[in-house]
Point group: C2
Chain length 357, copies 2
């Protein structure tokens, strides 16, 4: 049977710690080249309304440690409104019922057959969080207690979960541009994490004296600046432009997620995509030589060292998602789902065929 799982199943079945462990295991295969990761591609055509685009995104990976291949697909109507002075990429919930469309398909690398299908939303956040968590595990001071969090949206929750999974965090100071939103976030996550999450009125108040700074915004502008860097800090980002290039250059040790950092963009004629257009969203590439930076999987495998001294400034740039993460985290999720008897069983015959295509 092929398992159809929901976001609720993902949330219930796979903890952040388990997701970090899955990446920790699988990334060793990435370091030795045993696993494969197919670079993300984004295709764009004109969207259904003025200023909107239709975006079809996919990425693949095969994780031998879990015996699975994964394809992750996002099918979105996208807009780029300006909020609080920052340009943001926003998906429009244009599917029936005001919903979004993102799917992960998991396949067995032993038989080829489809093992599971599930929405990508929860696993997406888990694996982003787990990636930065895994990096923090190798790069943040072992006695890190105080976290500055920039952002209070969907990904900010994942980042908070992840740092709490790898360090004995005592306090998270959270800043985001919308006061009500950051206050609601602080209440929600104080409860969920059992850690004091405090809303603060400026980014400086969030990051001053922090052992770990987590950027978790959906802006395509810089949100953390060089003047805020302090000795011993670990800086962490989930989007390339969040950390000012000068701040990255101040770090003693910079690690990126993947060197193959440019998605394949397939853009229809006459279409202007803000993040593809030569512009500030991606200027970081021009100033930092990504190809010279060590990658997370090499740090995980131990072929590149992590933090060496307490006063070092370290920096992890989660510069692009990898299809491989969905294979690794999806593989761990699938094992747990099978063990728990979770999900809706669909006949595998629906998704297989008797012809050699």
């Amino acid at each position: 049977m092929t398992l159809l799982l929901s976001n609720g199943d993902v949330d219930r079945l796979l903890s952040m710690r388990e997701c970090i462990d899955a990446l920790d295991l699988a990334y060793r295969d990435l370091a030795t080249g045993r696993g494969t990761d197919r670079r993300r591609s984004d295709s764009f055509v004109a969207g259904p309304s003025e200023g909107s685009l239709y975006s079809l995104k996919s990425m693949d990976g095969i994780a031998p440690a879990f015996g699975v291949g994964a394809v992750r697909i996002d099918s979105d109507v996208v807009t780029w409104p300006t909020r609080s002075g920052n340009a943001r990429r926003e998906k429009v919930p244009a599917a029936s019922g005001g919903r979004f469309v993102g799917l992960v398909l998991l396949f067995s690398s032993e038989t080829g057959e489809p093992l599971a299908i599930f929405p990508d939303g929860y696993l997406q956040r888990l694996r982003v969080g787990a990636t930065n968590g895994l990096a923090a595990d190798r790069l943040a001071r072992s006695d890190a207690r105080t976290v500055g969090l920039l952002g209070s949206g969907w990904q900010a929750g994942g980042q908070a979960m992840a740092i709490c999974a790898v360090r004995k965090v005592e306090r998270i100071r959270c800043y985001s541009t919308d006061r009500e939103h950051r206050e609601a976030f602080a209440r929600e996550w104080s409860d969920k994490l059992g850690v004091a999450v405090e809303p603060v009125g400026s980014p400086e108040a969030a990051v001053r004296g922090a052992d770990v700074v987590l950027c978790a915004t959906n802006t395509i502008d810089n949100v953390f600046f060089e003047r805020w860097v302090e000795p011993g800090m670990h800086l962490s980002s989930i989007k390339r432009p969040e950390i000012e290039p000068a701040a990255i250059r101040r770090a003693d040790r910079v690690v990126i997620h993947a060197r193959d950092a440019s998605p394949i963009h397939v853009v229809a004629a006459g279409i202007d995509v803000p993040e593809v257009r030569e512009g500030k969203g991606w200027k970081l590439l021009g100033e930092i030589d990504f190809a010279s930076l060590p990658q997370l999987h090499d740090v995980v495998a131990g072929t590149v060292p992590g933090r060496a001294r307490a006063d070092e400034v370290t920096c992890f740039l989660n510069n692009i998602g990898r299809g491989y993460q969905f294979a690794a985290a999806g593989g761990a999720l699938y094992r747990k789902a099978k063990a728990a008897g979770a999900g809706r069983e669909l006949p595998t015959e629906w998704f297989t065929q008797d012809v050699h295509p």
Copy 2:
């Protein structure tokens, strides 16, 4: 609702003529750049048995003429045995019940939502046939009556259907290495097409005097040679190595399917993939300058001329599949399925989500 269709539905709903018409319409958008086509990627890791590999293949496309995006995925255990002296790529039916795994997912470019899911086997053949049929429509002599067919497998049937959809074919002479197989093919397709399909004992007997030569094998060796070229012939191939480079150079007019002809290969360390290895399967690339050849969509749109004289030798190389074909043909299929009330309706909510991933 999201439609789950079967290969039987595809076979019943979409005729070869309709598939050719769908490509004819959609390829005009490809010529003007309005449609997008994301290059195929093949990922390989070690397979479950000695000499086998696990292959995860994907390709995407968005066809504005049908308002759909498509992702096509193949998840296969693959081997490369030698049959009758030729190396062949063969998929192992390793999924439960001895089945293969290939899927097409169709999405609306208006709402993002999943419109349909179906196995790729029948549409795969239809779109390959339709591509060569569309090319033959522009390149073969308008009075072509005699066809030489090399191959008697799954794709050969599609090629025979396609040429009969665009020309008043009177006779198809079929050669393949296995006598019983070509005789069975001839019986089956004579009935299906209402055209005399004759099995012959040599490739020369198939192609001599033919107006159209269709190569439809799964070999990675040359099967059609320069010495067989005759004035006025249209040569057609579904795999790069089928036609000897010298024969291609003899043609007055050569058209390829797509210039972006190299799949992205993501190969795990220590894995040897015969078709990726520098070797005869792909040597054509080194001898023919693909980047200088006109592409089918430009011929379809009329920006590059088709056949100009009766005695010209023309040649179409269906050198790689395109994700765009699944969007175009899948879009036409979906319209017919909706109109016919065909398929199994699955709740779209199974494949959508309320979180912004």
